[in-house]
């Protein structure tokens, strides 16, 4: 058990939490508008899964992708500035909350059309196989996305061509206000894999280590055998679907109950169990506080892209 790693995971999960809390605050203060889909409660999934990757591996996600972007190595500054719509943001303020991208970190983006990014993921995995570059593609999506034809077609190609990819369904039990039983005829999302003869896994995602280790198996299968896997990770979002969602479709009890399994608590307990003394843990928490404060300041102080420069982003000359 590598204590350094445990610290990293805790740092990442906490930074993601604080980053999103800062985003929610900035949103309330009208620093920016649009949709804001918080990941709060699901942190162990993105952090654990990406801990199983190499830097050159590809990650692609949905509009709920702040965590995946950060866990892939993007800075809080880049992310914060992007949501502020600033030129210093990862996407120069053109993409916003739902469209974080970082070519250097191999983060291939957040996408707003449910299921629409799955075929792209099959494409990056295809490219890896084509080039024999040994990279793996991780594609994240929600439980509601599985109903989309694009998901089916992406999996059809990935399994037929044995692409080095891992499809990770973050099952947070709801798609917007719709509980899983109203969007799917089966309760087990991983069962979808049976239609394609694809390897599958399914587990609870509040423990970052379990997520890392189980995803690592699929990543190995992808990297060494070039075989895809469908993983369903059960999780929960503490907040509404987006800032505009009152969340009336869930009882207060249900939400409170879920908070008892907060991935941050679990992550902190891991440090305690590993005999990391309180002082060190508090240091991490202080570092995170400063990191996010700095990110907010950076975003506040950054300039916006002038309109004159906008046109050149539509086509490459």
């Amino acid at each position: 058990m590598d204590v350094g790693q445990l610290k990293t995971y805790y740092h990442q999960m906490l930074a993601i939490r604080r980053l999103e809390e800062a985003l929610a605050k900035a949103y309330a203060l009208r620093k920016f508008g649009g949709f804001l889909h918080l990941y709060i409660g699901q942190e162990a999934v993105a952090v654990g899964a990406l801990a199983a990757l190499k830097p050159e591996d590809y990650v692609i996600a949905t509009y709920r992708e702040h965590a995946h972007a950060y866990a892939k190595g993007m800075s809080a500054r880049q992310i914060m500035a992007e949501l502020y719509g600033k030129e210093t943001g990862c996407s120069k303020g053109l993409g916003g909350s739902m469209h974080l991208f970082d070519a250097a970190k191999n983060f291939l983006g957040g996408y707003g059309i449910v299921g629409g990014h799955a075929p792209i993921a099959a494409g990056t995995a295809f490219a890896s196989k084509y080039r024999r570059d040994g990279r793996v593609t991780l594609c994240f999506f929600g439980d509601g996305s599985v109903a989309q034809g694009a998901f089916h077609e992406a999996v059809t190609l990935a399994t037929l061509w044995r692409l080095p990819i891992v499809f990770i369904c973050e099952n947070n039990l709801y798609s917007m206000g719709t509980p899983l039983y109203r969007s799917m005829s089966v309760a087990d999302v991983s069962q979808k894999a049976l239609a394609y003869g694809m390897a599958r896994d399914r587990f609870d995602g509040h423990d970052v280590l379990r997520v890392r280790d189980r995803v690592a198996e699929a990543v190995r299968r992808a990297r060494n055998e070039s075989m895809p896997t469908l993983i369903e990770i059960i999780t929960y979002r503490f907040r509404g679907h987006s800032m505009s969602d009152a969340g009336l479709y869930r009882t207060k009890e249900e939400v409170e109950e879920s908070k008892k399994r907060d991935p941050l608590t679990t992550g902190r307990d891991l440090l305690v169990k590993a005999k990391v003394d309180e002082k060190e843990i508090v240091e991490i928490e202080e570092k995170v506080r400063l990191e996010i404060e700095d990110a907010v300041q950076f975003a506040e102080d950054s300039p916006e892209l002038p309109f004159e420069k906008l046109a050149e982003f539509t086509y490459k000359e």
Partner: protein, 326 residues
């Protein structure tokens, strides 16, 4: 007369028509238990139950097709697309099935089905969530395209759309939902294919639909202050297009500005400009002008976004150019 919000006017139209005809049902994502992502269907599930207000998974190709099939065998579905941005995953169903089945079957099957939902940009929703799709749907013979600009039109046109026997694309300006407006107390409908002069004038014709009507009226207001009387014409239905009323207005004013939120290339404004140019060739004192959305994906940043959407100041400037005042 009563004052209601745009979304309430739509809700009334749905509720009134559903009460009258059991063949009508509403289907879409979050339309029922959630009362609608934009609350247009608020209270309808309580009123009509799960049989007639149907929540769906995120499967637009699937439930748009369900609307088509149900209409073929005699039901009158109203299919809500959470927003028209998501209609693109169901484009094949709308273009290859909805629009063509009547003709391919030699007229044996008619499709009384309404596809409705919010369209256009809102506020910092970025490229994938800020699209105007009317130019695409109006290109397709077999579809009708309706785009109301105020609560009165919204209710009257939606009722007509639901009673129409053809597949209809009904696009509601996402930023119009909260707009308040007066509507008649009793039962009324507004026929499809009939434009309306939203403000009379004699110096120039400004054509706009959906939220662009507000931009046109604001521009007309500003122009009036400078003694320029702009006539604002709202087609209300993009297809079929009320070419006569448009031509009549332009023949009178001799000048025409078309406002369109969507992209310029092959936009609805291009079609209107072509028809006006042909019908009013001898009456035009200046070439038809168009003020459209910027020819690029919508940027997220607020200031950039606003500069990509036609507004009153730029409409005023365009009119002055038309009048050679600049």
């Amino acid at each position: 007369m009563r004052t209601v919000a745009f979304r309430e006017a739509l809700n009334e139209a749905l509720s009134e028509e559903m009460e009258k005809d059991d063949r009508i049902f509403l289907m879409g994502e979050e339309v029922g238990h959630y009362n609608g992502a934009y609350k247009v269907s608020k209270g309808l599930m309580d009123k009509f139950g799960e049989r007639r207000v149907v929540d769906t998974p995120i499967a637009e190709t699937g439930f748009v097709g369900v609307g088509i099939g149900a209409a073929m065998v005699g039901l009158r579905p109203v299919i809500e697309l959470m927003t028209w941005n998501f209609s693109l995953v169901a484009a094949d169903q709308l273009i290859n099935n909805a629009a063509k089945i009547r003709q391919m079957s030699g007229g044996q099957f008619t499709l009384p089905v309404v596809f409705r939902g919010p369209g256009g940009s809102a506020h910092m929703l970025a490229a994938q969530h800020s699209q105007s799709t009317e130019a695409i749907w109006a290109h397709i013979p077999g579809l009708k395209v309706v785009m109301p600009a105020n609560p009165k039109d919204a209710k009257g046109l939606l009722k007509s759309a639901i009673r129409d026997d053809n597949p209809i694309v009904f696009i509601e300006g996402e930023v119009l939902y909260a707009d308040q407006g007066e509507i008649p107390d009793g039962e009324y409908t507004i026929p499809l294919g009939v434009a309306e002069v939203k403000r009379p004038g004699k110096d120039v014709t400004i054509i706009g639909w959906s939220k662009m009507v507000k931009v046109a009226l604001a521009a007309a207001e500003a122009l009036a202050a400078e003694g320029i009387e702009a006539e604002v014409v709202d087609p209300r239905t993009i297809r079929p297009l009320d070419e006569d009323l448009i031509a009549e207005s332009v023949s009178k004013t001799g000048r025409c500005l078309i406002l369109e939120e969507g992209w310029p290339f092959n936009g609805v404004g291009a079609e209107i400009a072509y028809r006006v140019g042909k019908r009013c060739f001898d009456d035009l004192d200046a070439p038809v002008e168009r003020l459209t959305g910027a020819d690029m994906p919508m940027p997220y940043n607020h200031h950039l976004e606003q500069q990509c959407i036609p507004d009153a100041p730029r409409a005023v400037a365009a009119v002055k150019k038309l009048l050679y005042l600049e």
